[in-house]
């Protein structure tokens, strides 16, 4: 068969020549290669002191965004839960009452919204499915824990606080409206 990569090599079981049999040239060659590596630049990132920059496509812990007036974007349509291949997302929807207009943008909102971080595969399909630009994956790492139950993140951990917004402008998908 024609080789596709042009890297095909025919393996031969020929007898080693004398120079190959005494090993020494090969060993010295190998030692020369390692010796050259003595003077190479190391490519270590000293982790706690310096942190490697995340790629804009990195998909980490989710955030539920609020709009400019601090109202939750999520309308509990459930499209994220449907899109989720790992079935990690569950939610309970509720109707917005009078006087709650400053909390929720639409007439319906999610009273509970949970993502099981152990089930989640961080594919980002929820982010793609969301019509309200409510859920985004960020460059934050999901912290480790001792208990399995702690990995079910509720609204307390997912919704960004009004004062401390989570910046997603450097992300690959920032939403059509450019939500900050």
């Amino acid at each position: 068969m024609e080789s596709l990569s042009n890297r095909k090599q025919v393996v031969s079981k020929k007898e080693m020549t004398f120079m190959e049999k005494i090993y020494l040239p090969a060993i010295l060659g190998g030692m020369w290669i390692t010796f050259k590596h003595l003077f190479r630049k190391n490519n270590t990132t000293k982790y706690p002191e310096e942190v490697r920059e995340f790629a804009p496509v990195y998909r980490g812990q989710h955030v539920l965004k609020r709009d400019e007036q601090g109202r939750e974007n999520c309308t509990a349509c459930g499209l994220c839960a449907v899109a989720c291949p790992a079935e990690a997302i569950t939610m309970v929807s509720e109707e917005r009452k009078k006087g709650e207009e400053h909390l929720y943008r639409e007439e319906k909102y999610a009273s509970t919204y949970e993502i099981n971080m152990l089930r989640c595969i961080f594919c980002g399909l929820c982010e793609e499915a969301c019509p309200k630009e409510a859920i985004f994956l960020t460059d934050r790492i999901v912290p480790s824990n001792f208990e399995r139950g702690e990995f079910v993140f509720g609204k307390d951990k997912l919704v960004e606080s009004v004062e401390e917004r989570i910046d997603i402008t450097k992300r690959q998908h920032t939403g059509k409206r450019g939500t900050k």
Partner: protein, 343 residues
């Protein structure tokens, strides 16, 4: 023996002991650094500046770990194993001449613990006892992997000691003495044995690699097959003794190589110096050579993959022994011609 001489020896032994242990401790640090440099990494750098306190941290860690003895293990032999390994590794350093005599307080101090007239035989003897440490430890562990490691170690030692011994005989024929001091004195200035015995040096070096159980001959403790080999069951400072003994052996065998082939404390241009300057420069030369060989040992370890066991035996019995015998024969003939036996 006069009291002053006794004290002098005692102090020297103490210094040598401390230096050997210190160097062995820092050899572990240096090994990890060298490995890192060869692999474009940084290596240990957390304990102290550049990580120079790493050996202390390692030692402290080993001391505070649980000193565990397996239930089915042969208790006393299990404890004896690391002790023998450490003892023999340290003993070989006692006959190595570290420098010329030093003049201190009007007394001439010999920089050698004991100028035994059969010095090199003493070293060979202790090297062979060294395998008992591994053998006893591996057997007493009552673990098949440990036993495999021990068996491999002993068969490897037996195979490579022969070629090594033949190389030593060649050197002894050249210098006409078994005493290490005489062997060094014979190589005055730049008159090193390596220029007469390059082949002997290569064989001796390969055998030294095998005797110290270093890569590419580290079959007794190959992690991928034997989970650590003879010290699988060991923990705490007993484990530390085995690891330490390996580095002490590494240091002393580097010293033996520099004594036998690279002139020990001789260095080119040594005739321009005299007295204490010469002695101290000699010690410096000796240590430079020794450290260079320690580095080469590490260099080889981080370059070459492990031999297969049949390749190891093949190399030892079918290659190194015939070549060293051939080398011995040629050297003998040349010496005989020079001495005028055929006239």
């Amino acid at each position: 023996m006069a009291t002053s001489e006794l004290i002098e020896k005692f102090v020297f032994i103490f210094i040598l002991f401390a230096v050997t242990l210190g160097i062995a401790a820092y050899a572990t640090y240096f090994e990890r650094k060298v490995a890192a440099w060869f692999q474009d990494r940084i290596g240990p750098d957390r304990a102290g500046p550049f990580g120079i306190l790493q050996p202390l941290a390692d030692g402290a860690k080993l001391f505070v770990k649980e000193d565990f003895i397996p239930e089915r293990a042969e208790k006393w032999l299990f404890i004896l194993g690391p002790g023998i390994a450490m003892f023999t590794a340290l003993m070989t350093g006692s006959v190595i001449p570290w420098g010329k005599d030093l003049d201190l307080f009007g007394q001439s101090v010999q920089l050698q613990v004991a100028d035994v007239n059969i010095g090199i035989l003493f070293i060979m003897g202790f090297l062979s006892i060294g395998v008992y440490g591994i053998m006893i430890g591996g057997w007493a562990s009552n673990n098949k992997y440990s036993l495999y490691g021990a068996i491999r170690a002993s068969s490897q030692m037996i195979s490579y000691e022969l070629a090594m011994g033949i190389c030593v005989i060649t050197i002894v024929m050249l210098s006409g003495s078994l005493s290490l001091r005489n062997i060094v004195e014979e190589q005055h200035g730049m008159n090193w044995n390596i220029f007469y015995q390059p082949l002997g040096f290569i064989i001796f070096f390969v055998c030294a690699l095998a005797e110290t159980n270093r890569a590419p001959f580290d079959l007794p403790e190959c992690e991928s097959e034997l989970i650590g080999g003879y010290h699988t069951e060991y923990g705490s400072m007993k484990m530390g003794f085995y690891l330490f003994a390996e580095y002490v052996a590494l240091f002393t065998s580097s010293a033996v190589i520099s004594v036998l082939f690279f002139g020990g404390y001789n260095f080119p241009g040594m005739d321009y110096f005299s007295g204490n300057t010469l002695a101290l420069l000699g010690v410096l030369a000796m240590f430079t050579k020794t450290f260079f060989f320690v580095f080469v040992f590490m260099w080889i370890r981080w370059t070459l993959p492990r031999f297969r066991f049949d390749q190891l035996m093949h190399l030892g019995w079918k290659s190194l022994i015939p070549i060293s015998l051939f080398n011995l024969l040629i050297t003998a003939i040349i010496i005989a011609i020079k001495e005028g036996w055929f006239n």
